[in-house]
Symmetry: C2
Subunit: 449 residues, 2 copies
């Protein structure tokens, strides 16, 4: 009903608009240069639609079929009926508000047991709207005062620094060591420096497997060392593991959570890369004990669920039902279900490294001052280049050479990475990777020249 | 893979757990008594499963059929194909990461035009994970400093005060007038008091139609007055409208957004009550102009989308596709599609008011000191009772009389409402309402004793 139709108006049609909002008066997270960097990347991608893009970290979509959504949904609903739920109860589970912690914790726990050897009680799980919501909830729970600080491995995934900025939380970067993940010594130093400044380090965020953006993966011994260092400093470890399945080499390393004997690890999981992003389904494993002032104990997962009632209330039952059905269809074994995807990414990563080597043999690399990481899996390779790999360089590369990548500087919260760029292999075919590296090589030679 | 299987351990199996987390060291929003109130209500509901419950505000589920999800999903995918999208592009839309603002803004805009006479450009819309995420984003954008304050009509929906607490934002209650919604004078007074305390009132949250919890609805003239008062005080108005469809009387009043000539209203929409909660789909209409320090202009909707990249990244494409298909199946006219639901709720509300009247004729009401609201629609009636309607009373009522309701005190951020209780008619049948009121009447007489 329009105002005119009801005869109600607040004044002449020419009534002035309310004064425009000033961006400087909105929350500071909106002034983050990272947001401009993302916008710029999107704009360049749109301006050069024919460019081969090593930029996006999204999964390959050749394994998705729309028809499968029907199959998964039906599989989940049949599973509920098999468990004895009445038609009316099945209907409520799918359509109504549900438990804040989610409805498929049992299936996720079985999958974690099968795929990661993790023995997780379903009540320690909170299903979230992507791992991003999980990060937000964990940071909010742990960082209670302006003195509380989050340590982040650096270079760092932008999702966690973004969530911290939204909550006005301070982050302190801890540099990744050459093997991936922060060295224990770096953790000690960062925690002590934070304490010396009168603040309190609360947790350390780390992606031990094929990290975004560095692509590196922590050796097993380094994992034990990191846990010990964090325990000594009284830090919870927030382990984020979206890429762990996609190893190129002899197989997976144990997650930090699998090595955790002290309940010191909060584990963030995601189905975006192992199922599909359009469900936006993630989860948190938070089996830590919380003690109230009255001495009552609860689980951190239950406290996170309370916070979730203030962010999104529920994770969509639709998404949980479809992913639940997918898990059931694969006997709660996503590692096996993802074997074709793993092989695809491994072949792409091998192709990228092979083509880089072919374009830049050791002698030429040395002459140019060029090097790159050789990750054992995942989506990302980082190039160290002998020139500034900034937005202007990226756009020049798109315009003159038809290839896109991501400047690394945006991933360093405290500066750095100006001569580094990230290449992702997930959204291209092997043939596109070959063509893309040839184009990229021309750009690198031109820019180094 | 278990740690034992890889031979990796961090110490003996008896290694001590990390010290338990102390709730007092977690974020203060977790210590909110409201959370205990919700937990208590859930516990009592579980302990008395046979009680008739006037507590939940969830929609009636008799109109839901699981099969319809398939139909709606297919309708949306066919719509994309009809618009010329290739099979591959349809697949990406459903399965991949998508635009942060969402993928069905065009359909939502058409629905708002048909149902509310709102002329909204699709680019002013952000699809969100329920209206709850919309609240969080709007509060985060607007409240930038510790001096920024949100005014909330009181009694107030707990979702918005919860979102404010999560963000450490101060809220100041503005009492609802007798007709529903705050009087202009109360808005002026609250805004001036906030300014006098050295803080800055930024926005006013209000539910003009069939508010939760009060059930009241603002007259048309009061709406114009509220907008004028807010404009004078430089406040944006955050209008939340989950119940507007469900009028008992002669039809809908114009939304504040329909009356908005100054772009001073940010509108929060929800499909939880008009479609179903399990999709967790809501949206924000934010057509305000934002000006950067460099003089560049953007839309508030685009700024909210940037914040959304830090909360959930995307609203699930699955949910958007299913609700999009539902909108298409109903020609983007949810008011017509909801006519049976509206009639159902209207009959239930009439039954509740009729049975209250039958149990407590005017003379007895006066004698007992009992009264109730007579809302023109929506889900909620509030009873003023001659005794304290707290958790203990609620449990006594469940145990001895087999009926549940919600204490109102939790809805008053600054205290109040101790002798008020909320009855919801949405989740009961007319027969259950009749039986429930009879039981409730026994409890009221006993407690008034």
């Amino acid at each position: 009903m329009s105002a005119a139709a009801t005869g109600a108006t607040t004044g002449p049609e020419t009534a002035p608009e309310t004064a425009p909002l000033l961006l400087g008066e909105l929350h500071a997270s909106l002034a983050d240069p990272l947001l401009d960097a993302m916008t710029f990347l999107n704009e360049v991608t749109e301006r050069y639609p024919d460019a081969l893009s090593f930029a996006p970290g999204r999964p390959h979509e050749g394994f998705f079929e729309p028809e499968s959504v029907h199959e998964y949904l039906d599989a989940y609903l049949a599973h509920l009926a098999d468990r004895g739920l009445s038609r009316s109860a099945v209907r409520s589970a799918l359509f109504q508000y549900g438990p804040t912690k989610g409805i498929i914790a049992d299936l996720v726990a079985r999958t974690l047991a099968n795929d990661e050897g993790l023995d997780v009680a379903p009540e320690s799980l909170v299903l979230t709207v992507g791992a991003q919501e999980g990060m937000l909830l964990v940071l909010r729970a742990l960082c209670a005062t302006p003195e509380d600080v989050l340590l982040v491995s650096s270079p760092c995934y932008v999702g966690v620094t973004g969530a911290a900025r939204l909550l006005d939380l301070a982050t302190v970067p801890v540099p990744e060591g050459p093997g991936g993940g922060p060295d224990p010594q770096a953790v000690h130093e960062a925690a002590r420096a934070v304490r010396a400044s009168g603040r309190r380090p609360r947790a350390l965020y780390v992606v031990p497997d094929f990290a975004n953006p560095s692509g590196t993966s922590m050796p097993v011994e380094a994992r034990a060392g990191l846990l010990a260092a964090a325990a000594e400093e009284g830090l919870l470890v927030i382990e984020d593991n979206p890429y762990g399945f996609f190893a190129r080499g002899p197989g997976a390393r144990p997650t930090l959570k699998a090595l955790d004997r002290r309940r010191q690890v909060v584990y963030l999981g995601s189905f975006a890369k192992t199922c599909f992003p359009g469900a936006r389904l993630g989860y948190v494993v938070a089996d830590q004990e919380v003690v109230t002032p009255a001495g009552r104990t609860s689980l951190l997962a239950d406290e996170l669920a309370k916070l979730k009632s203030m962010t999104t209330v529920n994770t969509p039952a639709l998404s949980q039902a479809v992913i639940g059905g997918l898990l059931l269809r694969h006997d709660c074994r996503l590692r096996a279900a993802n074997a074709p995807a793993s092989a695809y990414y491994a072949a792409n990563l091998a192709a990228l490294l092979r083509e880089l080597e072919r374009q830049f043999p050791a002698a030429e690399r040395a002459r140019l001052g060029l090097s790159w990481t050789e990750p054992e899996g995942g989506f990302f390779v980082v190039l160290d280049v002998p020139f500034t790999a900034d937005q202007a360089a990226m756009e020049r590369c798109a315009r003159d050479h038809g290839v896109l990548w991501t400047p690394m500087a945006a991933f360093y919260p405290a500066g750095g990475g100006e001569r580094r760029l990230r290449l992702s292999i997930s959204a291209l075919s092997e043939q596109q990777i070959e063509a893309g590296v040839a184009r990229l090589a021309d750009f690198v030679r031109e820019s180094a020249g």
